[in-house]
């Protein structure tokens, strides 16, 4: 199938084809188990996993860990134009421009930031996979229609796409998640389709067809499970992108305006106005975003190595 030859798409397809190759020489050990074993031996994967785990734990137990109420404007009285109090007794990282404890806000903010990242990525994966299965499983005109649609969405740079969706849906956390998810849908759709096409012509799928197994069962029982590894890798990497993109949308004034929910992106965007007075207000949320994005990236890259047959042995 020759489609409009866009390089971005070809790269996605290459990834799909590479991960689709059938591994050799590890008889008896399942792909998942051998991948997990290699993952455990890879220090990069461990670092990534530890970072991600720590942040997930902080988010889970945030109300217990946060030393103060993230909304209480405790030190409001100390704030003067051009001066925001820094670290002091009881406020290890100081307070923000409204006198709220920065550390507590960062801890509580991890919930919202991680949730935006996870929900939007899951949404993107689910819808993208549904489209990918439709296209890669059914083929024919369904494939053509789905892929043409995906091509059109891919032809809008992702940030511009996210901007248009947020403007359309208004400013709330759900709009933010949907906007980010929409930019990820075409990537997953193409990835899964390509990976499924590679698997559909494999020997075991052919054997199943020869044995008279029904088409639906071949697709869902054999082809799909074997096509998932590039999706898993991309999904992990996308978590990082989603969190960064959420921050970018917040910066452009398209974030969640609900001030009762601290969120790193919004905190970072808000802090730009006070950068010359207290740069820490921007640096800490930025560090949180960078470290967590790094964690997901490290994990994703080592997953790619673990699942890619090229890196086996």
């Amino acid at each position: 199938m020759t489609a409009f030859g866009d390089v971005r798409r070809r790269r996605i397809d290459e990834l799909a084809a590479r991960a689709g190759a059938v591994p050799e020489g590890e008889g008896g050990v399942s792909l998942t188990r051998s991948a997990f074993r290699r993952l455990r031996r890879n220090p990069v994967a461990i670092i990534g996993a530890v970072i991600v785990l720590v942040f997930l734990l902080v988010a889970a137990f945030a109300p217990l860990l946060a030393p103060r109420d993230p909304l209480a404007q405790t030190l409001l009285s100390q704030i003067r134009p051009g001066s925001i109090p820094g670290a002091q007794e009881g406020f290890p990282l100081g307070v923000d421009n409204l006198g709220r404890d920065l550390l507590s806000r960062l801890i509580m903010g991890s919930r919202q930031s991680l949730m935006i990242g996870v929900v939007s990525t899951v949404l993107g994966v689910v819808v993208g996979m549904a489209l990918g299965v439709l296209a890669g499983g059914l083929g024919g005109w369904v494939d053509t229609v789905v892929m043409r649609f995906v091509d059109i969405v891919l032809s809008i740079p992702s940030l511009l796409m996210a901007i248009s969706i947020s403007v359309l849906l208004g400013q709330n956390q759900y709009a933010l998640m949907i906007a980010i998810a929409v930019t990820q849908v075409p990537i997953f759709a193409r990835l899964l389709r390509g990976s499924m096409l590679a698997q559909r012509n494999s020997d075991y799928a052919l054997a199943a067809t020869a044995l008279g197994v029904k088409k639906g069962r071949i697709i869902f029982g054999h082809v799909l499970p074997n096509s998932l590894s590039p999706v898993i890798v991309q999904g992990t990497l996308s978590l990082a992108t989603a969190i960064i993109e959420a921050a970018a949308l917040s910066f452009l004034g398209l974030g969640d305006p609900d001030l009762a929910r601290p969120e790193w992106g919004a905190m970072l965007a808000n802090a730009q106005a006070f950068l010359s007075i207290r740069p820490e207000l921007a640096v800490y949320p930025a560090l949180c975003i960078i470290v967590v994005a790094l964690g997901f990236t490290l994990l994703g890259e080592s997953l790619r190595e673990a699942l890619d047959p090229k890196f086996r042995r």
Partner: protein, 334 residues
């Protein structure tokens, strides 16, 4: 080759049509619809009703779409609610700045990225290698606008080495020909104006170029490491070619093929990354215009700019594709 190019051009048509449908639908789906877009957010319901009647927005939707398409083909996207000027005029006025910024960002990313990636691969496992790997991971994880603010704070506000906003010193009374400020300066031989425009580009270009830099370093490094182990490199070494010749003719040339794809891809993506960078540096290109349009809910500008940027993006990808076809004969056959 000609057939390949023609085929690619024909395949643009459904993409562009699809884009126009998407953005047409987008404006219709907004609360208030196109009338609100044209009249601005403070328009009264009566104004909107009158506008709808005047511009045939009460007609069937396909008639409206065909009319929209007819105007879009003539590059007519209506007028800005904020300034009252034609959207296309504003776009053409703003685009040169963004193009200049993108070119400088790419020069930075390529100029630093390829040598760094190559050196990292050659000194595989050294501190330089590890640093560049960690750096390239960090480069992708930093929110662009935060990096832009940091650069501005340190090098423009605190140290005062470089200008931190705008495209040129406002006191600089430069002659405008093309609206590419650097080019204008060179054409009119106003060297100081050109130099000033270049200085204004340095910080935004570094901020914008960081992500592509990180990606180019990584791809170059991986690609060189791949090529070094190829049979033809071993053959070239075995037949006694000078190390420099092997590096230049066999390793670098083959390793750069995947890098060139990445470069083309990134150039297209920079156009949208410019929204963040330009906003921080009040740069006055297309990106700042989009930010202003979001802020003032200037929907006609948003629609027109996003559509035009998407078209530019598609065209850049097409060029990358064609050049890739020139570089790699296998692509043409597909």
């Amino acid at each position: 080759m000609l057939r390949f190019i023609v085929r690619r051009l024909l395949q643009l048509i459904p993409i562009l049509l699809g884009l126009s449908v998407l953005l047409f639908a987008w404006l219709r789906a907004l609360p208030g619809g196109p009338a609100q877009a044209a009249l601005g957010e403070r328009a009264t319901p009566e104004d909107i009703a009158r506008y709808n009647e005047l511009f045939g927005l009460d007609e069937p939707i396909y008639v409206q779409y065909l009319r929209f398409l007819g105007r879009a083909v003539q590059l007519d996207f209506g007028t800005s609610a904020r300034t009252g000027r034609a959207v296309t005029t504003e776009f053409l006025e703003r685009m040169p700045g963004t193009v200049e910024l993108t070119i400088f960002a790419m020069i930075f990313a390529i100029g630093v990225g390829i040598p760094l990636g190559y050196l990292a691969a050659r000194k595989h496992g050294s501190w330089l290698d590890s640093t560049s790997v960690i750096g390239s991971l960090l480069g992708v994880a930093i929110p662009v606008f935060f990096l832009a603010y940091l650069l501005r704070l340190v090098f423009a506000v605190e140290l005062g080495w470089l200008p931190g906003s705008g495209r040129q010193d406002v006191r600089m009374d430069a002659t405008r020909i093309t609206n590419f400020y650097v080019l204008d300066g060179l054409l009119t031989r106003e060297w100081d104006a050109a130099w000033d425009a270049v200085l204004h580009l340095v910080l935004p270009a570094i901020a914008l170029g960081t992500i592509p830099l990180a990606i180019i370093v990584r791809i170059t490094r991986a690609s060189v490491l791949d090529v070094v182990n190829e049979d033809y490199v071993r053959t070239a070494n075995a037949k006694g070619l000078a190390t420099a010749t092997v590096r230049r003719r066999h390793i670098i040339r083959n390793a750069l093929l995947p890098v060139s794809t990445t470069i083309g891809l990134q150039a297209g993506l920079l156009l949208s990354g410019a929204v963040l960078t330009e906003t921080v540096f009040a740069f006055g290109g297309v990106g700042s215009a989009i930010y202003e349009a979001i802020f003032s809910r200037d929907f006609a500008v948003l629609q027109g700019f996003i559509l035009l940027l998407a078209v530019v993006y598609v065209l850049i990808n097409l060029l990358v594709d064609i050049s890739y076809g020139l570089l790699d004969p296998r692509v043409r056959a597909r």
